[in-house]
Amino acid sequence: MTYYKLPVSSLSALFDRVAEKQTLYIPTDKDGHAVFAPYESGMQLTKKLNTDRSAKDFFFPQTENLYDIKMKGKQLTVEDTREECEDFTVFGVKGCDARSFAILDKVFLSDPVDTYYKNRREHGTVVSLACNRPEETCFCRAFGIDAGDPEGDATAWRIGDEMIFAARTEKGEAFLSSVKDLLTETDGAMVESLKKAVAYIMDQLPLGNISFEGMKQTDLMTHFKNEKWAGLSESCLGCGTCTFVCPTCQCYDIREFDTGKGVKKFRCWDSCMYSDFTLMAHGNSRNSQLERFRQRFMHKLVYFPNNNGGEFGCVGCGRCLAKCPIQTNIVKVEKALEVRSDD
């Protein structure tokens, strides 16, 4: 891997350069929250560890139009209103969110391919940013993610007054060559020491060394029938906050909006925590909050791994730990369900 460096004071120049040719998104502060926003000259990176919302919107937006459909008399016309997505770059994606794209790929790029998602994926360049100081809610390491060495088309590390860059894919190479005159080649020594420093911090954190592998010691039906679901779900409000902040939650609804001149068929995020998610004319297959709560965690911890070579549907970003109004979360659930060797 070839490394390049740039003084942090020149980062704005790099952003300006990238934003001349395409939309660049960076994590910045807005009304006290860290959010990804389209870069404008002078915009500063947030000092917060991660954004409130995940980065999934870039490829799987909260709402998007699928097509227009009109009825005139008995005649229907269907119009595919999509345009080819323009190239864009997202800078500052953390290791957890960078991995979430690989998980979403397994859903949306598996047969039959979701072309709305694929179009954005092909046109988006992800420049990840290593974490310098993971926090108490971080547990990405449980999924083999190195917060100090995140995936992406290219990766950036902030070390003191310098930003170090390296490319991992063709798109990453293209990103670096578009700003090459600002960069100076360097070695990877500083990156190696940052990785070690981040690993040391992870070791000190409460969730830094947890493992989810205990979930795999028993089968789907044993987990499903576990009596602990009742207690775990008892106080769940069914608010769906966990699903909306989650970088890997991908359940969606298809709904329509009548503009008066025709109907816009749109897709929007949905939540398996909601009572109408599975409601049918003849009844509801998941009637109680216990069943809905169990569905969400079984999906991430058992169903998704069963269908995807053992990979969990979680990246350890910690957003559900920080945002759940009743302080429940996937770590508590996993700890309650896992089979320990001393059981």
Binding site: L66, Y67, I69, K70, M71, K74, Q75, L76, V78, D80, R82, E84, V107, F108, P112, V113, D114, T115, Y116, N119, L220, M221, F224, Q250, C251, Y252, D253, I254, E256, D258, G262, V263, K265, R267, D270, C272, F277, T278, L279, M280, A281, H282, G283, S285, R286, E291, Q295, M298, H299, V302, Y303, F304, N306, N307
Partner: protein
Amino acid sequence: MTNETLIPMIGVVTDIRRDTPDVKTFRVEAPEGGKVFEHIPGQCAMLSIPGAGEGMFSITSSPTQKNYMEFSIKKCGCLTSWLHQMEVGQQIGIRGPYGNGFPVDTDFAGKDLLFIAGGIGLAPLHSVINYCRDNRDRYGKIDIVYGSRSMDDLVDYQEILDEWCKEDGINVYLTIDREQEGWDGHVGFVPNYVKELGFDVNKTAVICGPPIMIKFTLAGLVELGFEKSNVYTTMELRMKCGVGKCGRCNIGDKYVCKDGPVFRCDQLAEMPDEY
């Protein structure tokens, strides 16, 4: 831009039959004539009307019917009410086919088949029954047990009387839930009737109906000595995408739209009871 599975094609309703007070059968063809797409028995399609919504319906006609597809639909909600007030010539959105369908060319081949349906549950079986009738030499004896609330609620009653009942090698057993004037056939619920009739346990059975009817009928068949691996059913849960991505029709790690809707009962026994 490549073709997208979520965008419907257009179908035209070319015939509407009233089957029962709340079930109508709609014939759908492509605007230029012929079928909108091919399917195998047991597969489903998403039908939509702008302003009324989109829903998954089993394709009732057999694929051996070369010119059109049919859908028998019970009026029970917003979309189905809209469909019920349609007139011939109406265009609808249609996409599919979805799901695995019945193993008509593999597990069913050469077998004696026992079809058991309740109410509108005949709709998904109608396709496979007529497929087997049209390929009569590839299957053994066919038994059909069909029950409904009343005589008026028997879907495809005329076709059953005029065609199914008159064919060699096919036995039809009809039942209704309660006594009714003008009915001299069997009265009683389907699960009990199946037990009374007591079929040869080497038959391959296919059940479809309300969830409660499926559960009791399966229990009855097991009591008679049927192996669960020899009993099939077809499920329906709420669906939006039809391709295993929107996340709502799963039972455990299986998606009904993609891994089903047809399941063997030994497979179902290993899955959570969430349907």
